[in-house]
Symmetry: C2
Subunit: 409 residues, 2 copies
């Protein structure tokens, strides 16, 4: 088996063979300049996998979509922004009706249509604008439609997020791509907000689910913007099988290769989500090395990236590493504080600030220069093992407060 | 036994018989206009109880103080602000030396001196200014010194926090009072930052510790400003016994009465801490009723009060109750979303916004009026039991970001 290599390609959620997408303005949102309804469609029935929010309060689309994913095959995803269709008396009916509308216009069984919604919680989602837009939405489908779909699922995102790669599997050229939106209510513990992924690899639903469930632990679950876990988080992965490889049905080297390619896409989208956190000016990575286990590294990295005090310090380009140790100390994992080294890294270089749990002399000017970059890494070495993990977040800024102080009205 | 009544009195940490306090500027802080060193002294050896941070990274004063509390009796508390004496190579030595200095000037055994520090983590605490100020500090002790001591322990607090009550126990007039500082790195799970309490009730160390350990669960552990748990959180309670009551040595009605009085003081100080959270413009209370257990009510109330999205909405006086349900949903406790009622209350009245998990029509103007007050309550009824709890926090504002974006430099 050859070493894993891949190329970035264009096309986002339509990069894989067999997928089209589109997005339109339907009228759910008041702002007519932004699309608010998207459709992603496969030419053939797909294997499907999904990961959903662990919040006890779940959006109606999550309830419906989870059932449809259990069906094992799916061909379409419909998603609106502007209203989460959550905590409503008739939410389930509306979510089912959204699937039904796609079913009618495309001639698919309704249970092969997946559904998601994002936006305000607790307001009724009027089905009328969606009904009235179905023909327009269906007509908008195209192989070039990824950017439109990515725009239609945005809420307070400042730009659409799409990414795709191609790689070789059993001598066939294969693709994985996707679109994502995140930004508010973004937190570890789930596939952050909405992520729709497609691939043309031929793989069984069981193995697809196994790949996705494992993947999110090192990708979307390692993203935190504000520690709030949404009621509507949904990550879906459709596999058309049109790449023509022999179907992956078990845990082979080919499966591992597919998982690697998937992780390239999901980690890239994770970083896009983190760096476009509400009000963010910086992508902040916490890299934990020297850990006893991957779980320990992940727990500690997430605790650092979630800390409001660390995030505010990063906004101020302030090398206040004591807050990093503090956030590590209240994570759910244990470690030996007197072994810990901490440093900050960016394109401008690296500065060590803590050695064996104690402060070291360092140049404040150099630290300021490093932390003033757009992408910075908090480097933590636990010095007790060989495992590592990364978590991604952003700084805490005035604009986060501004955006969230008056989002709904 | 008579019904429990109490009166608010002046005097703070010196309200109880037998206590003097003082605060001076020693030179630890660069800002000469604020005191940075305080001493609290009892005329007689006291029973002592303490509760400390659960952070794995612990300040040197916490390590030393915890040992001294185990000693069972204590007579003095020394505390500096401006430097946390945490993550330093010689921190333990410096903390011990602080106790030693008080021991020398007052003629006490060093293990009867308690110590605490607050401020920046990871910088050496120079003992010299403390040594040079000991005579001045000792001379500053007075029965009127509570306000000076309260000022000396402040960091980014905007005002000193002190409170005291008197009540009757076995026919004797007794007092409990204290001072506190909080504001940054304030979070549930521990006696929030520094709280020094005194009483003249006669009570054994064992019962005093029992009272304090139980009390913090419904007081300081229910406060959250930013979810960051400090490395230096310390809550100390000294009992001089000079009220002359028969010593409380077991779990009697008198003990319960003492616990009630203690809770009046700690809840009041908790609310002071929450309303003076960094950048806060409002005291936000989350009241959870109809819970199956107190533990459930507490867990859910804390989850709501910690949510950045809820806090930002309160800043914007935005009745975005979906964020309340969302934060409840990712707490560590389970409940039935379709049973939940939510409303907002303040001096301007009450507005119901969610009934049985679904939104209800309400006046946005009325909600805005209610949420524009300085003290607001988020009312959650789980409708499954009879237990309840309250948690206290504040709104998330531009100033929180400003204060923490450049605190250290």
């Amino acid at each position: 088996m050859t070493k894993f290599t891949y190329n970035e390609i264009k096309g986002g959620v339509c990069a894989a063979t067999g997928f089209r997408a589109g997005g339109v303005y339907s009228g759910i949102r008041r702002n007519r300049t932004k699309k608010d309804l998207c459709l992603i469609m496969s030419d053939v029935p797909c294997s499907v996998a999904g990961v959903f929010t662990q919040n006890i309060v779940q959006g109606a689309p999550v309830v419906v979509c989870r059932e449809h994913v259990k069906h094992g095959t799916a061909s379409a995803i419909i998603c609106n922004s502007g209203n989460a269709n959550t905590c409503n008396k008739d939410g389930i009916m509306v979510a089912n009706r959204m699937c039904g509308l796609v079913s009618e216009v495309c001639g698919l069984p309704p249970e092969e249509v997946l559904v998601a919604s994002t936006g305000v919680i607790g307001q009724r989602l009027d089905i009328t604008p969606i009904e009235n837009s179905m023909d327009k939405l269906y007509s908008s489908l195209s192989r070039d439609g990824s950017a439109d779909a990515a725009e239609a699922i945005m809420t307070t995102d400042t730009h659409p997020k799409e990414y795709a790669v191609e790689f070789e599997l059993m001598g066939k050229v294969c693709r994985i791509g996707g679109i994502a939106k995140g930004v508010g209510m973004v937190c570890p513990n789930m596939a952050t907000n909405l992520i729709f992924l497609t691939t043309d690899v031929s793989i069984s639903s069981e193995m697809l689910q196994k790949a996705l469930s494992s993947d999110v632990k090192s990708s979307f679950n390692m993203v935190s913007v504000d520690g709030d876990q949404s009621t509507n988080d949904t990550c879906l992965l459709l596999a058309s099988g049109l790449a023509g490889n022999e179907t992956i049905c078990e845990d082979t080297n080919y499966f591992n290769l597919f998982c690697k390619a998937l992780n390239v896409v999901t980690v890239k989208l994770s970083k896009m989500l983190a760096s476009d956190g509400e009000g963010a000016t910086k992508l902040v990575t916490c890299e934990v090395t020297g850990a006893f286990s991957v779980k320990q590294a992940r727990t500690i990295a997430r605790s650092v990236i979630k800390s409001s005090l660390v995030k505010a310090a990063m906004f101020g380009a302030d090398a206040n590493w004591g807050r990093v140790l503090c956030a590590m100390g209240y994570s759910d994992d244990r470690f030996e504080p007197s072994m810990v080294d901490v440093g900050f890294r960016s394109n401008k270089g690296y500065v060590a600030v803590c050695d064996g749990g104690c402060g070291v002399d360092f140049s404040e000017d150099k630290a300021k220069e490093i932390l003033s970059e757009k992408e910075i890494t908090i480097c933590v070495n636990l010095n007790i093992g060989r495992e590592k993990a990364e978590a991604w977040g952003c700084d805490l800024t005035y604009d986060y407060v501004k955006i969230n102080g008056d989002y709904r009205t």
